[in-house]
């Protein structure tokens, strides 16, 4: 296995390399979701009737999921705090709570979508629903990817190794949270 190159240990810009890379990841994800949600907003403004379609989404499921993600962000930042103090075991435990938040989020979404599909609102039921499933689906894919990353980082953190990664994976998770913070009113509330 290649050991870490000396390149990775330098930080001329005074931001640790892993964190700097994560900011660039966020920058590129911002424009992906920005493009999708910007297109949705334009379409939504063009089609006033979509408000009626959106009335069929479950505000409570959306709000509950928002609460879940906010809470998982809390555990993520507390994990970072623990990592800063060198407490790998605590950081790993808090990261697992964050993962649990992701699991709950996806479960709620699964139930939500199953209910909506059973009622006849599929991805081809209309353009609103196409956007609804695409946007929430893309977000859910990022939640899933985040959970995998959280799992991997929690494993090494439990051994008090690579603790700087706790902060970096946390930053990604907060981003996923922020995207949902905007998805919630866009898809659920604006009726």
């Amino acid at each position: 296995m290649t050991s870490r190159p000396i390149a990775t240990t330098r930080s001329v810009m005074e931001v640790p390399t892993g964190r700097l890379a994560m900011w660039w990841v966020l920058a590129s994800e911002t424009v992906v979701f920005g493009g999708l949600l910007g297109s949705y907003v334009m379409m939504r403004l063009r089609h006033g009737a979509w408000a009626d379609e959106a009335a069929n989404t479950s505000t409570w499921a959306g709000a509950f999921n928002t609460l879940v993600l906010l809470t998982s962000s809390l555990s993520a930042v507390l994990a970072h705090q623990a990592a800063e103090r060198g407490d790998g075991a605590k950081a790993a435990r808090l990261l697992r709570y964050t993962m649990l938040g992701g699991v709950v989020f996806l479960l709620v979404k699964a139930f939500e979508w199953r209910h909506e599909i059973a009622e006849g609102f599929t991805i081809t039921s209309g353009l609103f629903w196409s956007f609804y499933y695409t946007a929430a689906g893309l977000h859910a894919a990022h939640v899933l990817a985040g959970m995998i990353a959280l799992f991997i980082v929690s494993r090494t953190a439990a051994r008090s190794a690579e603790l700087h990664r706790v902060e970096n994976v946390g930053i990604y998770w907060h981003f996923v949270d922020v995207v949902w913070i905007f998805l919630f009113p866009l898809l659920y509330i604006a009726k």
Binding site: T2, A7, T8
Partner: protein, 573 residues
């Protein structure tokens, strides 16, 4: 902290060394060879369809009769492959991977495993694209711009599987370059050698970093759009279907919001390569280093404000068209400034017309022609006539060919000694250069003329257009095709030169061109870990013909020693 290179590894097998390596130089070669291979496919595609245009209805040697559907697939694949699977991997990924750690004086990229992953995803994207040739219906035939409803609806494009594979391949390629770009930018920001300030970084590294950021910032909406397009193709959603309330113009905007910055994503690295070659073979300091950096950044920023000039006749709001005309004309200014800086570098220099220098000079001359013809297209009024004619095509080949071909050859011939430890043959190099350049102009000058005369793009057979099916125009088309045949026929000279030199060319020393940048202080080729001792930097990269010095170059890593100290008087530094 300068330290020794990595300890010697146990002897790794062929797979570990060449196929599964995390070494940035190996990954660079992987990108380079994949790009050059894909160029063969893209080149074959253009050969076939230009033969069809020159001799309509006749069987093309090595292909057969070209049907209308095949024609569409060939032009689509030519454009798609040359931009995404030749220009980007060669200019951005290969040169970026090879040069950035070496020029910055470090031992690898900051994330070597992510680097390897990015190539693997890229390779997968190439495989998916090539696979699309072999599925029922064949490769996608909806043009590289993939406008819906043609691209979304299989009953229109007749290449149902090819269309989806095309979108998937492009999406995978985007992911690969996002990963690679993050690696490049982070490495360039954080891993510079001690003493290397921001304005001591070689221009080509600046350019590749700016290009990577441009790519990152512009590709997002298109990724979103591609997801929507795939859903339209596969699931029957109607994102771009007016019948369901969608909007095909939305795709155009999503595409071109990326598509325009994309041309600067490939232009900037090519200009960076030229910026490295010209000072070395003029033995003169690069003129206006900071100007070049600032104008490159300005070009990048402005490039986000010009995209709808591709849509002047698509039915966009005419007020927006006026706006985009203004911004498009403005963007020619910073690029012109960069070219002026290069010309000013040449002025008064001690010029050596080596093969790399010939390519670099040809880039400046040919790109200039491409740039000025863009002015006509950028003006919405003129574009009403010129849009979708061969005038556009000739314009963008006068920009893309210098970028993807001339710039790439400049870089390859310049850094070949560093990459492979041997020198290329100058005579073969010059033969290849002259025939390529002459042939290139023989192809595209006639196409400016046919375009101005009204030749539409993407037409399989002009016999349906009585005004265009004239002997005069047809002879121009034939001339262009003959130019292409000559261009393709001379490329084996380069391949022979490349392979022969790689295997038994004269051994190259570390710094055969007597250049200043850090890569020339490493061995040729550099070992794993690059430098026996990681360098420190004392000055900028373009100190050629410095005053009060014997040598006409002053490498970045050589410590500052006054003549008195060099003579041993006074304390050693």
């Amino acid at each position: 902290m300068s330290g020794a290179a990595q300890p010697v590894h146990r002897d790794a097998g062929f797979i570990r060394t060449y196929l599964w390596s995390t070494d940035h130089k190996v990954i660079a070669m992987q990108y380079l060879f994949t790009g050059m291979l894909m160029a063969l496919i893209g080149g074959f595609a253009v050969y076939v369809f230009r033969m069809q245009l020159a001799f309509p209805g006749e069987s093309v040697p090595l292909f057969g009769r070209v049907s209308a559907g095949q024609y569409n697939a060939l032009v689509t694949m030519h454009g798609t492959i040359m931009i995404f699977w030749v220009a980007m991997p060669v200019l951005l990924a290969a040169f970026g991977n090879f040069l950035i750690p070496l020029m910055l004086g470090c031992d690898d990229m900051v994330f070597p495993k992510v680097n390897r992953l990015s190539y693997q995803i890229f390779l997968l994207s190439a495989v998916v694209l090539v696979a699309s040739f072999f599925v029922p219906g064949g490769a996608f035939g909806g043009a590289w711009t993939a406008y819906p409803p043609l691209s979304a609806n299989a009953t229109y494009n007749l290449t149902q599987h090819g269309a989806t594979l095309w979108v998937v391949a492009v999406a995978l390629e985007f992911v690969a370059f996002l990963l690679g770009g993050i690696n490049f930018v982070t490495t360039a920001m954080n891993s510079r050698a001690p003493g290397m300030r921001m304005f001591d970084v070689p221009i080509v590294v600046w350019m590749i970093v700016i290009a990577s950021i441009l790519f990152m910032a512009s590709v997002g909406p298109l990724i979103a759009g591609a997801v929507m397009l795939v859903f339209d193709q596969l699931l029957g959603t109607g994102f771009y279907d007016p019948g369901t309330g969608g909007d095909p113009i939305l795709w155009q905007h999503l595409f071109w919001f990326f598509g325009h910055p994309e041309v600067y994503v490939v232009l900037l690295p090519a200009m960076g390569i030229v910026a490295e070659v010209i000072p070395v073979f003029s033995r003169k300091k690069l003129f206006g280093y900071r100007t070049i950096v600032y104008t490159a950044v300005a070009t990048g920023v402005i490039s986000f404000f010009v995209w709808a000039h591709h849509q002047f006749v698509a039915g966009i709001d005419p007020r927006m068209a006026s706006l985009f005309t203004i911004t498009t004309l403005i963007i020619s200014v910073p690029i012109a400034e960069m070219v002026f800086c290069y010309i000013a570098t040449l002025y008064g220099g001690s010029i050596t017309l080596s093969t790399p220098m010939l390519w670099a000079l040809a880039f400046v001359a040919e790109f200039l022609l491409g740039g000025v013809t863009g002015i006509f297209l950028g003006a919405a009024g003129a574009d009403i006539y010129l849009h979708d004619t061969y005038f556009v095509l000739a314009h963008f080949h006068y920009t893309f060919f210098p970028i993807a071909i001339i710039g790439a050859f400049a870089g390859i011939t310049f850094w070949f000694p560093k990459m492979f430890g041997r020198m290329m043959d100058e005579r073969l190099g010059k033969i290849h250069f002259w025939v390529t350049i002459v042939a290139f102009n023989v192809i595209f000058i006639p196409l400016f003329l046919t375009g101005a005369a009204g030749d539409h793009r993407r037409i399989f057979d002009y016999s349906g257009f009585p005004d265009l099916a004239t002997p005069g125009l047809q002879s121009l088309r034939i001339t262009a095709t003959m130019g292409l045949v000559a261009l393709l026929a001379i490329q084996p000279v380069f391949v022979v030169n490349f392979i022969r030199s790689m295997v038994r060319g004269p051994i190259a020393e570390a710094n055969p061109w007597r250049a200043n940048t850090l890569e020339w202080s490493a061995a040729s080729p550099p070992p794993h870990g690059n430098f026996a001792e990681l360098p420190e930097v004392y000055r900028g990269p373009y100190e050629y013909s410095p005053e009060d010095r014997d040598e006409d170059f002053w490498p970045q890593h050589v410590p500052d020693v006054s003549p008195a100290e060099a003579a041993g008087i006074g304390g050693v530094r």
